[in-house]
Symmetry: none
Subunit: 244 residues, 2 copies
DNA sequence: CTTAGGAATCTTGGTCCAACAAATAGGCGG
DNA sequence: CCGCCTATTTGTTGGACCAAGATTCCTAAG
């Protein structure tokens, strides 16, 4: 299988032999931001100044700015110029809003396996760090699930429950990754479910997980959480086949 | 403070009164993909054909393509043209590799804990999927570690070894995350080590892990891999304190 | 006659330039 | 204080050239 070209070079900001002029300018602008210590809200030089500074044509600079805009790092407005922003998280979510291309089934499977690894696999660390406050929050969030919500709201609460669970790990890297996968996870949660499903099945599955958590029952926690995750994904798979 | 303009219009593909020409072309290309039912691997028309089709200048089309490239939806190669891809997941994770700013000690700890979870925690799935070919590759990669390399090369090989290990899971999402963490992992690997350390200690620790893997010894695998990871991080911590 | 090799040509993305349009910040005058 | 004007800046266009991969076509060997 032929791998697609590694475009992440741009993202990682390292110089490369295969750098195009646009890639170079992207890197130079990022270096400029870093060296000048520019923060969110600060302004970048005008396009023409960047042209002169980096010895590139205006089109090249503009294409570089398009990339930075797409990554949610700058916000360009006519006459105002470019200012530093940080919309990376919302950009990450938007990536999957493209109705253009359906997210592949393999992607869903991978994400679900990832969730299993993160949530079920981290049982030792979760129990090590578990505080009463965590249990209170989780109960409170799950309580909202029993109220009346539409499908979108219910899945958001379901997601919030799992985020809160993962947050027990107190690991920013893991939490960020989990949040980035949110759009995919939401779709997994919604497929094959009704408002009623969330209020009854999902709610009680969560309660079972919390009971095991409260009782410091590691095996029970793992079993119930894994079962819960598999149940959701089974619904998802049924729906995928039905619509296929 | 003024809110930044809502660029997500582009992502959601709805026409808007404030659409720029580039936004319009992005939407048109997306509609083209949807209507023509183009799948991953299919080719898009050439830039010049898109110009004629959408009645836009070439620069405008190019800026639109830059956006689609940044979103990981198309892959453009000179003389070949643009082909449909779907690297949205890895793009989403890459968004957060823009953290060139100084990495805090907490970040290193989090990443190391993440690695432990990914590599040690996935033992069941690894053993389920393990093929002879995986072991061959791992031995070959580790063999390179025994050769003479400078610190940078050695850490790259060390990283390649762990990537190959994780790749056994056949999970693109996990692999993407692991690759995004590469810069940080490399720094963890390099701290407190010498060229000699890689050739001797790291090499033999890897060999121990592979021996357990070959013997299908799950507990031994977990123990040795975890020990290996902790050893590396202990070096890292010592160095951090020494330089602090 | 067939065909493999290579040379000439065509195509295509990458870059640059110049010009104009549109929008607005900031100054000027009332 | 308010409204108009202008200079500046981004947005867009069309055209040009380049480098290199793809294609075509010719040639020469078999």
């Amino acid at each position: 299988m032929a791998l697609s070209r590694d475009e992440s070079i741009v993202a990682l900001g390292r110089a490369s032999a295969t750098d195009s002029a646009v890639d170079t300018v992207v890197r130079q602008i990022r270096e400029l931001i870093a060296e000048a210590g520019l923060k969110v809200g600060d302004s970048l030089p005008t396009e023409r100044e960047l042209c002169a500074q980096f010895n590139a044509s205006r089109n090249t600079v503009r294409e570089a700015m398009r990339i930075l805009k797409a990554y949610g790092l700058v916000d360009v407005r006519p006459k105002i110029g470019a200012t530093i922003t940080d919309n990376r998280m919302s950009r990450a979510f938007e990536l999957f809003s493209f109705n253009t291309m359906e997210v592949s089934r393999k992607t869903f499977q991978d994400v679900q396996a990832f969730r299993d690894l993160l949530e079920v696999g981290s049982v030792e660390q979760i129990f090590d760090r578990l505080k009463d406050r965590d249990l209170d929050d989780l109960h409170r969030i799950n309580g909202q699930l029993a109220e009346n919500h539409d499908l979108q709201e219910a899945s958001e609460i379901d997601f919030a429950f799992h985020v809160r669970l993962v947050s027990i790990l107190d690991n920013a890297a893991i939490l960020d990754v989990y949040k980035v996968m949110k759009p995919i996870i939401l779709r997994i949660m919604q497929k094959g479910k009704t408002r009623r499903t969330f209020k009854t099945e999902t709610f009680s599955e969560h309660e079972d997980v919390l009971a095991a958590l409260s009782a410091r029952d590691r095996l029970g926690f793992q079993y119930r959480l894994r079962t819960h995750l598999m149940t959701g994904f089974r619904n998802f798979n049924d729906e995928m086949e039905a619509t296929a």
